[in-house]
């Protein structure tokens, strides 16, 4: 058997793949957080709960209504996004003039309510969700076995991330968005409906979390607490990347997933903590994060 640094190549590539999968979710979630933060200036603590809602939406659609994975991939983010816009219109809107910390506290409270209700309803055991039959099976690449579904997750996440980056950085709509981030009053004076833009942006960021949830359903079990611990790791990813750039969120998301995967191979004891350790080191060297600008 081939080995690299005393580690079997099979294990190495296996963990690299898991790292890329985790990285896909880190990237999607931190991207949603970055988009929301850019315009609303709040950190959306409900993000993990909304990711979980996406997964449960897919599970519900399949088991109660017989709607399959591909439709779920569209319907679940729409539903979760609509729910997010409702929250923004009814609650978050009232907090924009206050200290941004209140937004964090409100979304934390909402996360507790949502996660508590799902646990009350479904308990803490996971619900299985089958891999869609078009993506069942896998490819033998010679050096490793690659399940089709996992390859799809990585590709779909990359495409979604890059599409989001393109829309925000390269289109007219994105230009309005970036302008509103800099100076909402001025953009409003040009006749653009900024409050509606804020609502739609929050909805979009939340829909990204729902989308990630649907993609996660066949890989992890659909569990009421699946987003609770994940969101903290994603926060660390956001701190490492810095809130400055969309591309930064994507690159750090995938990068840290890979670092975590490699740590599992070479020093498994630290695999839970490695992202936080990286965060501590980055804070010492670049307090604003790798891609962030110090304000």
């Amino acid at each position: 058997m081939d080995t690299i640094f005393g580690v079997p190549t099979q294990a190495l590539f296996g963990q690299l793949l898991i790292g890329l999968i985790n990285g896909s979710f880190y990237a999607l979630l931190s991207l949603g957080l970055a988009v929301i933060f850019g315009l609303l200036n709040i950190i959306n603590f409900t993000h993990g709960a909304q990711y979980m809602m996406g997964a449960f939406c897919a599970w519900f659609l399949l088991n109660k209504l017989g709607v399959g994975y591909w439709w779920s991939l569209i319907l679940a983010p729409l539903a979760v996004g609509a729910f997010g816009m409702l929250i923004e219109r009814t609650m978050l809107k009232q907090l924009y003039k206050l200290d941004h910390l209140y937004g964090l506290l409100l979304t934390f409270g909402l996360a507790l309510i949502i996660q508590g209700m799902f646990r009350h309803e479904f308990g803490s055991t996971g619900q299985p969700y089958a891999v869609p039959k078009e993506l069942a099976g896998g490819q033998n690449l010679g050096f490793m076995y690659l399940p089709n579904y996992r390859a799809w997750v990585i590709v779909a996440s990359l495409i979604t991330c890059l599409a989001t980056w393109f829309v925000i950085e390269r289109t007219k709509l994105g230009a309005y968005l970036r302008a509103a981030t800099e100076n909402p009053a001025l953009v409003q004076a040009f006749g653009i409906n900024v409050p509606r833009m804020i609502t739609l942006t929050y909805g979009f960021g939340v829909a990204l979390a729902g989308f990630a949830g649907v993609m996660a359903a066949p890989i992890y079990q659909v569990n009421p607490l699946m987003g609770a611990d994940l969101i903290i790791v994603v926060f660390a990813v956001v701190v490492i990347g810095g809130m400055g750039s969309i591309l930064g969120a994507i690159v750090t998301g995938f990068g840290l997933g890979v670092i975590e995967g490699l740590t599992k191979v070479f020093y498994p004891e630290a695999s839970n903590t490695v992202i936080f350790i990286v965060m501590a080191i980055v804070l010492m060297i670049k307090p604003a994060g790798l891609f962030g600008a110090q304000k």
Binding site: M91, L106, L112, I113, I114, I232, F235
Partner: protein, 311 residues
């Protein structure tokens, strides 16, 4: 500065002390001790957010560290309870220095996220390291004899020791917020660039406030571990960090007595709702949302506003 300005606070303090001294006659001491430990924890947390304007979302790391070290010191090293609690407090202060150095340069939401992430790192560390006993925690910690004399197995003896610890911590915090240091801290909370321009090294002030807050949170955690003879992962979990935020928010951010009342309400609520399982989390979430949307001054804050006197 006239003492009379704070006379109502002195009266409130006297009333609170008398109530706590008499309370064990009518309320179960174990509940009171739990609430007092959390009240001290919330007061320590409030020192940071209410007077320094820094929201830490990782305060469970100090509370939990204080608990683990106190439990370990009492059980394995065989120290007397006061030394065990001291060991926990010192350990929390040490963690506070390290976390403070990392987090203090960022503000607002970043500060909250960094402290949360550091606390999660420590959670995983305590989950894996052998001395904490992993999922089981450190169980059957002896309460021991205070100064080698007073047997704390008696619930009432234990209660009054906890009360003394709480009152000492409370008075220390009261002294801090009314000292020149506390005034500078408030100035930084209101307008940091201005305080900086007046020549105050704001980062050092915030750092000291952070370490003080961490130390007192460790004192609360260590005391709780001795009272319940248990130190477990619950006390370092992020939900504990959220709970202390909730207690302080409900009682009133930046009030002197708010965190104490907030702690009693939340602990009381948990006691009553404990049979209803997940409803505790849901109710906590609802209180969070209501406080933020409609009730930002908190109970004591509203009362003080109504009486036109800060409490």
């Amino acid at each position: 500065m006239a003492d009379s300005e704070f006379r109502h606070q002195h009266i409130a303090f006297a009333v609170m002390t008398v109530l706590f001294v008499l309370a064990p006659a009518v309320i179960y001491p174990l509940f009171l001790m739990k609430a007092l430990c959390f009240a001290l924890f919330a007061c320590a947390f409030n020192l940071l957010i209410g007077f320094g304007g820094l929201l830490s979302f990782g305060h469970a790391m100090f509370f939990g560290t204080g608990g683990y070290l106190a439990a370990h010191a009492a059980k394995v090293w065989g120290l007397t309870p006061e030394l065990a609690i001291l060991a926990g407090t010192v350990a929390a202060a040490g963690i506070g220095v390290v976390a403070g150095l990392l987090a203090i340069r960022r503000q607002g939401i970043y500060f909250a996220m960094i402290t949360l992430a550091l606390a999660q790192m420590l959670f995983f560390f305590y989950l894996q390291t052998p001395f904490t006993g992993g999922e089981d925690g450190i169980q059957a910690v002896p309460r021991g004899k205070l100064f080698g004399v007073l047997d704390l197995a008696n619930a009432y003896a234990m209660y009054y020791v906890v009360l003394v610890v709480f009152l000492a911590g409370f008075l220390l915090i009261y002294r801090i917020i009314h000292s020149p240091f506390g005034q500078v801290l408030k100035a930084i909370r209101e307008n940091e660039p201005r305080a900086l321009s007046l020549g105050y090294r704001t980062v050092q002030y915030k750092f000291l406030a952070f370490v003080l807050s961490a130390t007192l949170a460790g004192l609360a955690g260590g005391t709780k571990a001795i009272v319940f003879q248990l130190a477990s992962l619950t006390d370092v979990h992020w939900s504990m960090s959220g709970e202390v935020v909730l207690m302080t928010l409900l009682g009133g951010l930046g009030t002197v007595f708010g965190p104490v009342l907030g702690a009693f309400v939340i602990i009381g609520l948990e006691n009553y709702l404990s049979e209803l399982g997940q409803w505790v989390t849901i109710v906590q979430g609802i209180i969070f949302v209501l406080c933020v949307l409609a009730f930002r001054r908190g109970i004591i804050g509203e009362l003080g506003h109504w009486l036109k006197k800060p409490l």
